[in-house]
Symmetry: C2
Subunit: 202 residues, 2 copies
């Protein structure tokens, strides 16, 4: 079993932290995204969309999408449960995974891809859209800060995969010059708590 | 227990079809999205993001995000299982839920919001981005057609929530004038099979 990844990218990091929380050892194979190796016909056999990370199972089949890879390991090694412990908590975790993806990771990534020199010539850029996404990403920092005024973690007092997702996105947002602001005292408290977990270094 | 929804919108439809598959009766409360009722301070108590659908539980708490609502019901009434039956299948279903959201529903929705007269004055539009999203949505029609050449459903021979998501998005894509093309024979076969299920009328 192994995971194809690019160490620098935020999505593989979500999986590494998740596996560290479960104390699951893994072989990682680095894919050179600057050379575009993920778009090669060979790699697209593993993930038709040419995206990372990709989990290769021992039967030779492949799974992609970070949260899908994490869910596989939640099923094969439940402890500690990171997707919720009962029906309502599982739904709340799912809600926050999706909020973080749709209204935080996605606008942050779209801002980066549409405004950064890094993608000039690699992607068709629409800077006006990128700037609008920068505002959306900034708004989510505020939403998180408000939420953490009354909650230790995204799902109340329960640390979950949703916190891992949000934590990686806060760090990723530095590429679009978004950072936790001095007035985000609750968000900062949560961030420091997640950063203090050994898994955050994975 | 009740669900706040807008009958016309694609996301609540995913939940209605899911509940029909499980034969779960539900009270639906219509929210007037043309009047912007979902953005009222009262409604934002139910979902801070002002989005539909929202499930109100009997304890008065609220869950949002369609797939999170569906996951709640998968847990409280497992049969028939629609999120997968074992670890690997659950991960494959999750992978396809996310592919359909990120690379199909999202570009389709962003094209609609950035190019349609319906949103003029309601949202800041970036038509160039909308057109780029139209191409992404069209690409996913091709991806689906290729997939269904060798698979009955998204997760192989197993009908799942991912098929419900993709089916609702194919129908939704009509708002950006995207339709199944005559050459999409495999996609058409899958579409007809899902449309023939009684749940599709929910």
């Amino acid at each position: 079993m192994k995971i194809y990844q690019a160490r620098i990218a935020p999505n593989p990091r979500r999986v590494r932290i998740f596996l560290a929380e479960k104390d699951i050892a893994m072989e990682y194979v680095e894919v050179d995204i600057q050379k575009g190796e993920q778009y090669s016909p060979e790699f697209k056999q593993k993930n038709v969309l040419g995206l990372l990370p990709v989990l290769e199972l021992d039967d030779g089949s492949h799974l992609s999408e970070s949260i899908a890879i994490c869910r596989y390991f939640e099923e094969v090694q439940p402890e500690p449960l990171l997707f919720g412990r009962d029906a309502k908590e599982k739904a709340i975790v799912e809600m926050w995974i999706r909020r973080c993806d749709f209204y935080f990771m996605f606008p942050t990534g779209m801002c980066f891809q549409n405004t950064s020199d890094y993608f000039k010539g690699l992607k068709r850029q629409v800077p006006e859209w990128g700037e609008l996404c920068r505002e959306k990403s900034a708004k989510f920092f505020n939403l998180l800060n408000n939420h953490f005024e009354h909650n230790d973690y995204l799902a109340g007092d329960y640390f979950s995969i949703a916190d891992i997702s949000a934590f990686c996105t806060v760090d990723f947002a530095k590429v679009i010059q978004q950072r936790i602001q001095p007035e985000h005292t609750h968000l900062q408290r949560w961030y420091d708590a997640v950063a203090a977990r050994p898994s955050s270094k994975a």
